[in-house]
């Protein structure tokens, strides 16, 4: 069973705010899902390579060529806060 502290730690890594109720609920639900996932431990995978992609493709390259892309206006159009043609964010450094 995940403790509230562990749930809080994971939420922090995920930059995800959670209410105290969510921390309780997710603690239980994630523990149940992870228990289920633990069935994988029964598999002997010592000699098995991991699969990250099923494709046989490797190093798909494209020519380094400038092409038309979004205008500054279009790129900013969906941002909740814009200032002087830039994305406005809260202060990052004191």
């Amino acid at each position: 069973m995940l403790t509230p502290e562990e749930v809080g730690h994971i939420a922090g890594l995920a930059r995800l705010g959670l209410s105290p109720e969510e921390i309780q609920t997710f603690g239980k639900q994630l523990s149940a899902i992870l228990d289920y996932a633990h069935t994988l431990a029964r598999l002997d995978t010592e000699q098995v390579a991991p699969t990250a992609t099923v494709l046989a493709l490797e190093n798909v390259l494209a020519p380094d060529r400038a092409e038309p892309s979004l205008s500054q206006e279009d790129a900013l159009a969906n941002s909740p806060q814009v200032q002087d043609g830039q994305f406005r964010v809260t202060a990052i450094m004191e």
């Binding site: 890594l13 930059r15 994630l30 991991p50 099923v54 493709l57 494209a62 909740p80």
Partner: protein, 488 residues
């Protein structure tokens, strides 16, 4: 016969013979949406004026002697597919006001083929779910029984096609999200081989698994749409070259000598007896037509679901990091620092299932657990893929149920995530292996459709579609319509 009830191929025939105009067809569909969408709630957004403009343009093009693979055909898009200038919400509050500045490649291809775009269909938030109940906006209903779910996550697209609110629709399938709702709604859903259809402009969920696929009224239409959608795309580095299907070869009702494997693991505990019986009957139908059938074992099947629920959330936790309230989407007000902006924006904008999967994926990738969970699941994925590789040395296609049950009730599984995940148990292995599979209707249980899944090897769509077509020609399940009109 009403125009809205036509298939894509039937409509194309009438349009090409100039017996019907694209505008008449479009108006018939729009009227149908007005008549039944209050019941089905399949659409999030409908664009009647733009659709009529596109239909008029299609008629004008045809009057000049032009044609296109889908010229004048009204099609709906799952709302995780970007369409220029139209809200693309992914069923999430965090993207409620997001307006894409470009078309997804599949949308550009549909436009090029002359399709008429009707609007955007409902889905589980960010395609995470099996019932469409995880939409932040509302639940879509199964047209066969409005108290049942349409399946998910492409539930809106499946319900729309089932209820004749679109001639066809696009969905996305990460672990069964095209096939399972198609099964629940009694329509056809094709998950192409991973990489066959470009993912550019589709909101990423699990990038090594996501694949766009058509949801249609019959197999012919699935083949038509696949041909329109499969094209190498330099904007998607996982896009592969694939041959166009020779439709005359594919769409012939012959299965003489086709080798059908029946994976034992898909017929055991968990699968409803009525579902098993319908699929077994379908297998007998194909045997009567000349197919060769034998049982096969895919011994690692039971590990597919746990592997998937580590791999897909792990990829999702990385992909969804972009929803941070800065460049698009909801931003929390009056936060003290950037950390709080991220945490609170995501807290406010994302729903429970999405949060649960981000948490699960972050856990599986975190220090100390990476080897035991994420890496272990990637190794299990190798074994699952090898099961299929071995099976396809002996068989052309594999037949199984698409889902273990028929459509379940609204609210029945929404409080128990693990029970909900189990409804994808027969569609997830193919996704992990990156192979192609189709769901087609093969019967009913208590007036709810049952889906037959036909799986084929990577780029084996031609054979999968041919077997599906042969079965469809021999049966009439695909011609059944839900009782919506009686209720309205």
């Amino acid at each position: 016969m009403q125009l809205y009830s036509l298939t894509v191929q039937q409509a194309l025939d009438l349009l090409r013979r100039k017996e019907v105009s694209a505008l008449e067809l479009c108006e018939s569909i729009l009227d149908r949406i007005v008549a039944v969408d209050n019941s089905t709630k399949a659409f999030l957004t409908v664009t009647p004026e733009e659709a009529c403009d596109q239909a008029r343009a299609a008629d004008a093009a045809r009057a000049q002697g032009l044609d296109g693979a889908l010229l004048g055909i009204p099609i709906a898009l799952k709302d995780n597919i970007c369409r220029l200038g139209l809200p693309t919400t992914c069923g999430s509050r965090i993207l409620e006001s997001f307006i894409p500045p470009y078309d997804a490649t599949v949308v550009a291809l549909l436009r090029r083929a002359g399709a008429v775009l009707l609007g955007k269909t409902n889905l589980d938030e960010f395609a995470m779910g099996s019932s469409t109940e995880n939409s932040a906006f509302f639940s879509t209903r199964n047209p066969w029984n409005l108290d049942r779910v349409p399946g998910g996550s492409s539930g809106g697209s499946a319900a729309a096609v089932c209820a004749d609110e679109a001639l066809a629709a696009l969905g996305s399938d990460t672990g069964g999200s095209v096939r399972q709702p198609a099964a629940f709604c009694g329509v056809v859903g094709l998950k192409p081989t991973y990489g066959r259809v470009s993912r550019y402009g589709v909101a990423a969920f699990a990038s090594s698994l996501d694949q766009i696929g058509p949801i249609t009224k019959d197999v012919t239409d699935a083949a038509l749409l696949l041909n329109a959608l499969s094209e190498h795309d330099p904007h998607d580095s996982t896009s592969i070259e694939s041959p166009k299907l020779d439709l005359a070869q594919v769409l012939r009702p012959e299965v003489d000598g086709i080798r059908i494997g029946v994976p034992q693991e898909y017929f055991g505990a968990g699968a409803q007896p009525q579902v098993v019986a319908a699929v077994q009957e379908a297998i007998e139908t194909l045997v009567d037509m000349g197919a060769l059938v034998d049982t096969v074992s895919l011994p690692h099947t039971e590990y597919a679901l746990p592997a998937y629920y580590l791999l897909a959330p792990a990829e999702a936790s990385a992909n969804l990091a972009r929803y941070d309230g800065i460049r698009y989407g909801v931003r929390a007000d009056n936060t003290a620092d950037i950390w709080s902006t991220y945490c609170e924006s995501r807290q406010q904008g994302l729903g429970s299932e999405v949060k649960r999967r981000i948490m699960l994926g972050t856990y599986a990738l975190s220090a100390g657990y990476y080897d035991a969970y994420y890496l272990k699941a990637q190794r299990a994925r190798t074994l699952i893929k090898q099961d299929f590789d071995h099976a396809f040395e002996r068989f052309d296609v594999l037949l199984s149920p698409t889902a273990p049950t028929v459509a379940f009730g609204l609210g029945e599984k929404s409080q128990d995530p693990l029970q909900m995940y189990l409804s994808d148990v027969f569609t997830i292995p193919q996704s992990l292996a990156g192979i192609c599979a189709i769901s087609i209707p093969c019967g009913f249980d208590h007036a709810l459709p049952i889906g037959l899944q036909i799986s084929g090897p990577a780029l084996g769509e031609a054979t999968v579609l041919r077997v599906a077509y042969a079965y469809e020609q021999a049966t009439s399940w695909h011609l059944q319509k839900p009782p919506l009109d009686k209720e309205n």
